[in-house]
Amino acid sequence: MFKNYQLAYIIDDDPVFVLLFKKILTKLGKFDAIVNFENGQLALDAITNKHKNKETLPDIVFLDINMPILDGWEFLKLVEKHQFKDHLNIYMVSSSIDNSEIKKSKKYKSVKNFISKPISAKDFLQKLEY
């Protein structure tokens, strides 16, 4: 059986995608709470705050690459500096099919997998447990 997640973060600036992604995640029934952020900075601020206040951190993070203010790569770079880097299960979720970006994502220890858009409900959970 697949694992259950308490708190999922979606970091993506495309509102349509976020809406659809949330629908899919909800239908899969394994995500208790889903919160989304328009860019990396907002997400990082939220996580840093939670960490400071000793609140529960998200146990899964879906991270887009192209975003204003703080994009996916910059977010990863900053996360690497924090103590909580090992507690975040980060999955890159991008429409990119650029191999160099997929390779680049493997350099970050905190990144568990690279998932290409579009997301389909069918084999999504497998991708999380690879």
């Binding site: 629908k23 899919i24 650029d98």
Partner: protein
């Protein structure tokens, strides 16, 4: 005065005199080579001394080799077998030590006894006079006079006459050798000048810090005459090197001279008389004296203007292809992210529509599908616009009045400026004219003004300052605001990228600066900016 009177009291008689005068009056060039001189001298000796044979021998290695022997009886010139030093030690020693071997009677002379058996007796020689010939104190030959008179005696006159002939012969030989050398030298010079004058490379010799030789191939290219170049000092040469190359070249040369390097090469631009610069590659060969000072500085100077031109073209091509590559990468990126993000949304929507049976949900998805479809069309039309820009660069340029053009652009923002209480300051000369594509100029300035309005500060009275001026035949335009600014530390590489936005502003598309930069590049200009968060931004455009 009669001839006999001139001769009174002298050793020589008239016949001697006539013979010697004839020789004295001749020069090397009157003879048909050195052999002819040998023959003349031997014949003169026979005539003057009234003897049967005269011969000239030269030292070759250790031995004496006969160069000519004149026989008065047969009236023939022949060559005798050579005399081997090893077998005739006494004779050779006598020649080396003495002024002459004077043998009135060949039988009683100690020094020539080794010659008796094989030479004197078979040839019927009775009297012998051998005079060594020296150069720089060293024996180089011997002049032999031989006679067959019983009880004959060599007189002072004979000795003197033979001596004079030897001296003349010696002089002639020297002259001959000098001629040979001169001829060789001339030939070498001819070959060198053939090379230096016809080569595309220039040849220069510098001695005592002055040009002492320059080939015509060198000074003609630079437009100088030979004399002008020959007066050049090293400083003159340095003064003609392009200022951007001077220090590098000078340092390199002095470094190599300091290291006593014999060969080195360097490239620089050298100014010709017409002030035009030529790219040259100098291959230097330096000769140093025992104290390590350079005495001769030889240069082969090659014109490499064509190579440099080709290099420049290649560099430009590389830059161009790099630029195109970057654009291509940017497009790939856009296709990858912006088009795919839309299509992936569409395919997710289709999946969701298929998966649900509820009409209300389906309807919601259809609505989103429509939205997404519009966005995709928009993205594609943006892409089209940018690609168009790359291919319509040949649009006609016309002259515009910058001040008037800016005023009319500001007119379209009149309402925004008024409602936001923005003060606008335009500093442009009334007669500033710019040759440009008017629609591009309008779109560039308009976009910058619109950005300045959009990203104005909410905490202070906003201003927009526009300044334009001519600078070195270029037009420089500044658009300054005191708005919220852009974090350049973070966004330096992305500022002018496609679909890049820097603020949480929902209506930002991230296309404005990208299009501005593209249009400016099409116009052959550049754009840069200074910005500080919370302070404002200054864009600088050079057209």
């Amino acid at each position: 005065m009669s001839k006999s009177e001139i001769n009174k009291g002298l050793l020589f008689n008239q016949d001697h005199f006539n013979l010697l005068i004839k020789l004295y009056k001749s020069s090397f060039l009157d003879y048909n080579g050195i052999e002819d001189i040998y023959k003349t001298i031997t014949e003169t000796a026979v005539k003057g001394l009234k003897i049967i044979r005269a011969s000239y021998w030269e030292i070759e290695g250790e031995d004496l080799v006969c160069k000519d022997l004149y026989d008065a009886t047969a009236k023939t010139h022949t060559i005798e077998k050579k005399l081997i030093a090893e077998y005739l030690p006494v004779y050779f020693q006598a020649l080396k030590d003495g002024i002459a071997i004077v043998a009135d009677d060949v039988n009683s002379n100690f020094y020539i006894r080794e010659l008796k058996e094989n030479y004197i007796t078979p040839l019927g020689i009775k009297n012998m006079l051998d005079i060594p010939i020296r150069k720089d104190g060293k024996l180089i030959g011997v002049f032999c006079c031989e006679h067959n008179k019983e009880n004959g005696v060599w007189t002072e006159t004979d000795l003197a006459f033979a001596r004079v002939l030897c001296d003349i012969l010696n002089l002639m030989i020297e002259q001959g050798k000098r001629r040979e050398l001169e001829k060789e030298l001339l030939e070498t010079e001819r070959k060198i000048s053939l090379i230096t004058e016809n080569s595309s490379d220039g040849f220069v010799v510098i001695e005592n810090k002055k040009v002492t030789f320059a080939s015509s191939s060198y000074y003609k290219l630079l437009g100088y005459s030979e004399n002008e170049v020959l007066n050049f000092t090293i400083e003159d040469v340095f003064n003609n090197i392009h200022k951007d190359d001077l220090n590098k070249t000078k340092d390199f040369i002095y470094e190599n001279l300091g290291l006593k390097n014999k060969y080195f090469k360097y490239q620089f631009r050298l100014k010709g008389k017409s002030k035009k610069y030529f790219w040259r590659e100098d291959s230097a060969c330096v000769i140093y004296d025992d104290n390590g000072n350079y005495t001769k500085y030889l240069i082969i100077s090659r014109d490499i203007s064509a190579i440099k031109l080709a290099e420049e073209k290649a560099t430009k091509l590389v830059a161009l292809s790099k630029n195109l590559n970057a654009k291509l990468a940017n497009f790939t990126h856009i296709v990858s992210h912006n088009i795919r993000s839309n299509t992936s949304n569409i395919s997710m929507l289709i999946d969701l529509i298929e998966d649900t049976d509820e009409y209300a949900e389906k309807k919601e998805y259809f609505q989103l599908l429509k939205q997404n479809n519009n966005k995709l069309s928009e993205t594609i039309s943006h892409l089209n616009e940018t690609i168009d820009l790359q291919f319509t660069s040949k649009k006609r340029k016309t002259e515009i009045n910058v001040k008037k053009e800016i005023a009319s652009i500001l007119e379209t923002y009149k309402n925004d400026i008024k409602t936001n209480n923005i003060s606008v300051e335009v500093t442009v000369a009334a007669d500033l004219i710019l040759n440009t594509i008017p629609t591009y100029f309008e779109s560039i300035v308009s976009n910058l003004i619109s950005n300045a309005i959009k990203y104005k500060s909410l905490h202070k009275k906003p201003f927009i300052k526009i300044k334009a001026l001519k600078e070195k035949r270029k037009t420089v335009i500044f658009v300054e605001d005191n708005g919220i600014g852009i974090d350049l530390m973070k966004n330096k590489d992305k500022i002018f990228g496609m679909y890049k936005t820097f603020h949480n502003n929902s209506d930002a598309v991230g296309l404005g600066l990208f299009m501005i930069k593209n249009k400016i590049e099409v116009l052959g200009g550049t754009i840069s900016l200074e910005s500080k968060l919370g302070k404002g931004t200054i864009f600088k455009i050079i057209l």
